[in-house]
């Protein structure tokens, strides 16, 4: 008999864990809740005896030391304890439930054959004075995301084992050949195609030429291939650019930003160690004689706005697959996150937008879950808070990989099989590629819920294990990941030069009822596509069996350069590859740029030295600057045993490292390493995106050089997150940023090897109709080679008596600085290019290699002042420095404010042992470099003024620590109990 049992797993008294929930509930303004008990809930459906349910409970569901279980038929109700309100949250039908999948599979192994389906859910008992209205608020704001979940006050009616209604699978013809412009646009918007009129015209013309109407499968394929996400039409389009300034108007026509600036820089630098740029799923450079390394950074912004955990989770999953897609083993993850201010009031949020705090919690948990479970160390990143990210949070996810040289084949041949490895295909992530190309509104969550994917890192880990074996046995001719655009993107791109024939009914599905176009477009996670010669099929199948990886042959590479899709006997698509990939009309974009002017004070905004000390403490305590240890320690940065320089360094392991250094297991018998760092400063972008690009490249280079990377062996990646490119001012800023990328990359000789853009990060308020774009946000990630990790360097002060040098010139450049920000200013004097930067980086690298540098820290956010404070607190030692000695450029009179807080590019703060001073100075000969002070035992940072040697201020280390780390004592950090 078919029944549903409900098993509630309850923590025993004293065994529940700390929960952010209580503080999150308080943050909603609901003060009555005193205690929350979180229980796991399982629904078991099928023909089960009570003995079988009891067996599943004992062997799989309950840990008897810390839990007990209640179970009953789900039709009955579990009593709610007096004084409590029960909220239960379950997943919607069709959403990936890996816990239930594992439970189901294991029950079968245990011989409980009557189990037909299982589902997992959460039950929360809230104790205290609480109204049902408040309980609904808690459920909606904190516990349940209706994009993927449903909830009830009281016991949940389970959605388990409900078969989807039987529908007929076939492709629908869509009439477009006779449509007017208006009707074409309606088709585009109703089907979420995100195609503009020129593009719809091209589609119509193609099918008029073919003498037939397209099928829905064909239309969806074209829309996906031509989406911004997959086709990068803005970066490849033609831009009419107009820049106006006091000096007049400059007009330019730019044929592709990508070719003109980004790829042009790589070409011009022509570094012999670049193996692959802008061709593969990731950029690849030489590492050692035997190994090459790859790097890719992606964004997953829109999904993270709607479902933060799933969005960030699959963001990591996706970029890791990019690395698997170049046949490499992932060895490090990076993440840069941007959120609205966490303290913002709910009333200030635009309609339909999740609270930044919820997004933050979800995103961090999502990254933690995927990276840790994949066994990839998360070693570098940043977190930035700004009002501009309230409706559009940014989630940049990066991954570094390693592979033996020449082990990545990239040529599918006619006759090869098209093989799908890994996860099954469901409705998850439909329209993700086109969805990422639209602006968010208050209704996006409702209309695009399907665009959210849920990840299963263990499935991906198993696929990775299987692929590495297949790679070493050279079983495939090509490989790529199934990401944005699903099979459509992966298979049709891989087969562009050959042609493919695919049977969609051979794609393994999670559940029945998917239409052919849904199978083709689904962005279900953890899938890889391989081109496998038929003679290798059985060996690959064996490897997959050994690793519990599902493998399906879904078609063949042909030689006719057409895309043939079939569903059983029906042909559902037949397109020429040339049209699909080259038929998109070049987008024409208008771009205008006028530099905005912000208030900038004429005179000083301080009077006595104590003011500057207070300012320093305020900058150190700023959410963007202060320690992120509470987040960073939730990521495993040690797994794989290669993390030589960790995210935190210093005497108490709590100083902020400039970059991570890795020595991968593959080279554990020698000493080369990899430095991974990044540069990101959207505050400069508000003033001038050109300056932002220059500064981001400079910072990324500084970060990796500071830990020991060779400045002549650094590759960089560009990741643009921008507003709507159809708005000429947004586009104008984008042009400025690309020009900055070109100039900055050439200046440092750092080629771009990969990049990605996420545009349309705008939000339209449904009520007011107001549009808002995010701040222009360019992330530059750097991957540098460290010749010998034994010479790598950390930023913590090492010993009293050490001499402190400032390398690089300081200018009066306070525009966009944190100093201005804490005074409510933006300013205009944004940092410019550091002319001496490359030469000083090379000289500094030689000094580090010669063992002359004890500690090195780059000067970035907060300038010299913050760098001094961070080095001191990390080393547990004080410093005495004199501003009179700071090397400066420009004609400005020396003033302590800009000497301390200016964020000029190209600068490093360095500790040198006294006995090495002469040799260090000889290395730095001709460079802007001065000794500005020394390290002292006494625990304070003392700064002398610019004129003589009068003390401007002296700050105890304890005060500096309190400013930078004081917030970590709050409820979000683990505390001792018992």
């Amino acid at each position: 008999m078919d029944r549903i049992y409900r098993v509630e797993v309850i923590p025993l008294t004293g065994q529940s864990r700390d929960d952010y929930l209580l503080s999150d509930i308080a943050a909603l303004g609901i003060r009555g809740v005193q205690r929350v008990v979180r229980c796991d809930l399982f629904f078991l459906r099928g023909d089960l005896t009570e003995q079988e349910v009891a067996r599943l409970r004992d062997e799989l569901l309950v840990d008897p030391v810390v839990q007990r279980a209640l179970w009953r038929l789900a039709a009955g109700k579990s009593p709610t304890p007096p004084g409590a309100i029960r909220i239960e949250v379950g997943l919607l039908q069709g959403v990936t439930d890996s816990v239930a999948e594992n439970l189901y599979a294991r029950a079968k192994l245990l011989g409980v054959s009557g189990l037909r389906a299982a589902a997992s859910a959460q039950s929360y008992l809230l104790f205290g004075a609480l109204t049902p209205g408040e309980a609904h608020t808690i459920a909606q704001r904190l516990l349940c995301n209706d994009v993927i979940q449903h909830y009830e006050l009281g016991c949940l009616s389970p959605q388990v084992g409900i078969d989807p209604p039987l529908t007929e699978m076939h492709a629908e013809p869509v009439s477009i050949t006779d449509l007017s412009d208006e009707e074409l646009l309606r088709v585009s918007s109703e089907r979420l195609l995100s195609l503009d009129l020129a593009e719809m015209h091209a589609v119509r013309a193609y099918f008029v030429g073919e003498g037939r109407e397209p099928t829905d499968v064909e239309l969806e394929s074209i829309a996906q291939t031509w989406s911004e996400h997959c086709g990068h039409k803005t970066f490849k389009g033609i831009v009419e650019y107009v820049e106006s300034s006091d000096e007049g108007i400059v007009r330019e026509r730019i044929d592709s930003l990508l070719r003109t600036y980004i790829q042009a820089a790589t070409k011009k630098i022509d570094a012999p160690w670049v193996r692959s740029s802008f061709v593969d799923d990731a950029g690849i450079i030489d590492f050692t004689e035997d190994y090459e390394v790859s790097f890719k950074v992606e964004t997953h912004n829109h999904p993270s706005a709607l479902e933060p955990f799933g969005g960030a989770n699959t963001g990591i999953g996706g970029v890791v697959r990019d690395i698997m897609g170049v046949s490499a083993r992932p060895i490090a993850n990076t993440d840069v996150l941007c959120f609205g201010p966490l303290g913002i009031e709910m009333e200030q949020l635009p309609a339909g937008v999740l609270h930044p705090r919820r997004i933050y919690n979800g995103v961090v948990s999502g990254i933690e879950d995927y990276g840790n479970k994949m066994g990839i160390p998360t070693v570098n990143g940043a977190i930035v808070f700004d009002h501009g990210y309230i409706a559009n949070p940014l989630v940049y996810c990066g991954c570094v990989g390693i592979a033996p040289c020449n082990s990545h084949p990239r040529e599918p041949r006619p006759g090869d099989l098209i093989v799908v490895l890994g996860g099954r295909t469901g409705r998850d992530g439909l329209h993700g590629a086109t969805f990422s190309s639209i602006e968010l509104t208050d209704e996006t969550g409702e209309t695009s819920g399907g665009a959210v994917q849920i990840g299963n890192p263990i499935t991906e880990k198993m696929v990775l294990d299987a692929i590495l074996v297949a790679r070493d046995e050279r079983l495939y001719h090509a490989i790529t990941d199934c990401g944005g655009g699903g099979l459509s993107s992966a298979v049709s791109e891989m087969g562009e030069g050959t042609g493919v024939s695919v049977w969609l009914d051979r794609v393994p599905l999670k559940y029945l009822g998917l239409q052919p176009w849904e199978i083709w477009l689904s962005e279900a996670q953890e899938r890889m596509i391989l081109a496998v010669p038929p003679e290798n099929e059985s060996r690959l199948r064996r490897i997959c069996q050994d690793h519990w990886v599902e493998m399906s042959v879904i078609g063949r590479f042909t030689g006719d350069r057409r895309l043939h899709l079939h569903y059983e006997d029906e042909a559902v698509a037949d397109l020429s590859m040339a049209f699909l990939h080259k038929g998109i009309p070049l987008r024409k974009l208008k771009a205008t740029w006028t530099r905005p002017t912000f208030d900038e004070p004429d005179g000083p905004i301080w009077s006595v030295g104590a003011d500057l000390a207070q300012d320093l403490l305020q900058v150190l305590a700023h959410p963007n600057v202060r320690s992120k240890e509470d987040v960073v320690r939730r990521y495993d940065h040690e797994v794989q045993g290669g993390t030589v320089i960790k995210p935190f360094v210093g005497v108490q392991d709590d100083g902020p490292s400039d970059a991570a250094v890795l020595r991968p297991l593959e080279v554990a018998d020698s000493w080369p390493g990899l430095a991974v760092g990044c540069g990101f400063n959207p505050a400069y972008g508000t003033i001038d995106p050109y300056a932002m690009a220059i500064a981001a490249i400079d910072e990324a280079v500084r970060n990796v050089v500071a830990v020991g990377a060779d400045p002549e062996h650094i590759a960089i990646l560009d990741n643009f997150c921008w507003g709507n490119p159809l708005q000429p001012d947004r586009m104008g800023g984008l042009v400025r940023a690309c020009k900055g990328c070109y100039d900055g990359a050439l200046h440092y000789g750092t080629p771009f090897i990969s990049g990605k853009d996420s545009l349309n990060n705008e939000y339209t308020d449904g009520e007011t109709g107001q549009q808002a774009a995010i701040p222009p946000s360019l992330l530059i990630s750097a991957l540098g080679i460290v010749p010998d990790v034994r010479h790598s360097c950390t930023m913590d002060l090492k010993a009293a008596g050490g001499l402190v040098y400032l390398v690089g010139e300081t200018r009066k450049e306070l525009g966009g600085s944190f100093y201005y920000r804490i005074h409510g200013l933006v300013g205009n004097s944004v940092p410019g290019i550091a002319q001496a930067g490359p030469a000083t980086a090379r000289a500094l690298h030689r000094a580090i290699g010669a063992g002359l540098v004890r500690a090195c820290h780059d000067c970035s956010e907060g300038g010299l002042a913050v760098a001094l404070a961070e080095m001191a607190l990390a080393g547990g030692l004080g410093m005495e420095v004199a501003l009179a000695e700071v090397p400066v450029a420009g004609d400005d009179r020396r003033e302590p404010d800009w000497l301390l807080f200016s964020e000029s590019n190209g600068r490093y703060l360095v500790e040198v042992p006294p006995e090495g001073a002469a040799a260090f100075e000889a290395q730095m000969n001709q460079m802007p470099c001065s000794r500005i002070g020394h390290v002292v035992d006494s625990p304070s940072l003392t700064v002398a003024d610019c004129q003589g040697h009068e003390t401007l201020f002296s700050l105890p280390l304890a005060t500096i620590r309190e400013a930078w780390r004081g917030h970590l004592q709050g409820p979000s950090v683990g505390r001792e109990r018992d």
Partner: protein, 272 residues
């Protein structure tokens, strides 16, 4: 000298297999990473090896609790071979997820399969990665911690590492029978890196974050009564080179986790 064969058991989702293998190799063993399916298909036989390591990771995604499904494998599919391996006195080491699996399968602390000890969610409610100091407890039976003359420094990286006991009796038994192999230890001065005596008469609570998960009595690792089965939450395999030390650029050294593997391999040699 003959290198004993060490089997590193790879389950779906384990991810510190390679480091564990490397540590065993450095310690003088000959390590082989073997997928659980190869054991099930009888392509490899446990008894052909002299030492077994269950590495860290997230077997089966830790669905239904950390290490639980892997534990289910151990007692439903391998119990015969594993029981014989343990009874013979061959060294078995479970690290992190491997420790969780051994505990939940009843191999640790052993003595009948009803589970009286567990590893559950950290008090902090989330995953944590940080370095800890481990001290071998006095008069414990564990062969892996024998002769340690300094504390071990290595990272933890887990979300479910809090050791909890069913009752006071279980707790007393762990200590009374010498089954507590390692404890989290708070140095008097965080910067203090001098070698410390491994035995302390009076235990003082390590406190968070030295005890990173809230384990009862700061217990970090357990052994069985025979001393040949050993499990711990921290990762000694991630500190086998001086450059993995978090403060090596400050000239700090010592506390390598390799000692535990050397002891294991040394014991395994008796079975070659």
């Amino acid at each position: 000298m003959k290198r004993p064969r060490v089997l590193i058991m790879h389950a779906p989702g384990t991810n510190r297999d390679r480091e564990a293998a490397l540590a065993c190799e450095l310690a003088g063993g000959s390590a082989e990473i073997v997928h659980i399916n190869q054991l099930m298909a009888d392509e490899r036989e446990l008894r052909a090896y002299q030492m077994l390591v269950l590495p860290g990771g997230f077997s089966y995604g830790d669905s239904l609790g950390a290490g639980r499904l892997w534990a289910n494998d151990l007692y439903h599919r391998f119990s015969q071979a594993l029981d014989a391996f343990v009874a013979a006195g061959k060294p078995v080491m479970g690290i992190c997820n491997g420790f969780q699996a051994l505990v939940k399968a009843g191999y640790l602390p052993g003595n009948g399969w009803r589970q009286r000890v567990t590893l559950t969610h950290n008090r902090s409610g989330h995953f944590e990665c940080r370095w800890v100091r481990l001290r071998a407890s006095a008069e414990n039976r564990c062969l892996f911690t024998r002769g340690l003359d300094e504390d071990i420094l290595c990272p933890v990286a887990h979300g479910e590492g809090r050791l909890a006991v069913a009752d006071e009796a279980a707790r007393e038994e762990l200590w009374g029978d010498g089954l507590v192999a390692l404890t989290y230890f708070a140095p008097a001065n965080p910067a203090d890196n001098t070698k410390l005596s491994p035995s302390v008469a009076a235990r003082r609570p390590a406190g968070y974050p030295n005890n990173p998960n809230g384990s009862v009595d700061d217990i970090a690792g357990l052994c069985n009564h025979a001393g040949n089965v050993f499990g711990l939450m921290p990762h000694p395999e991630d500190h086998i080179y001086p450059q993995q030390h978090p403060r090596w650029t400050r000239g700090e050294a010592g506390g390598l986790g390799i000692h535990l593997f050397r002891n294991g391999v040394r014991a395994a040699r008796a079975f070659t």
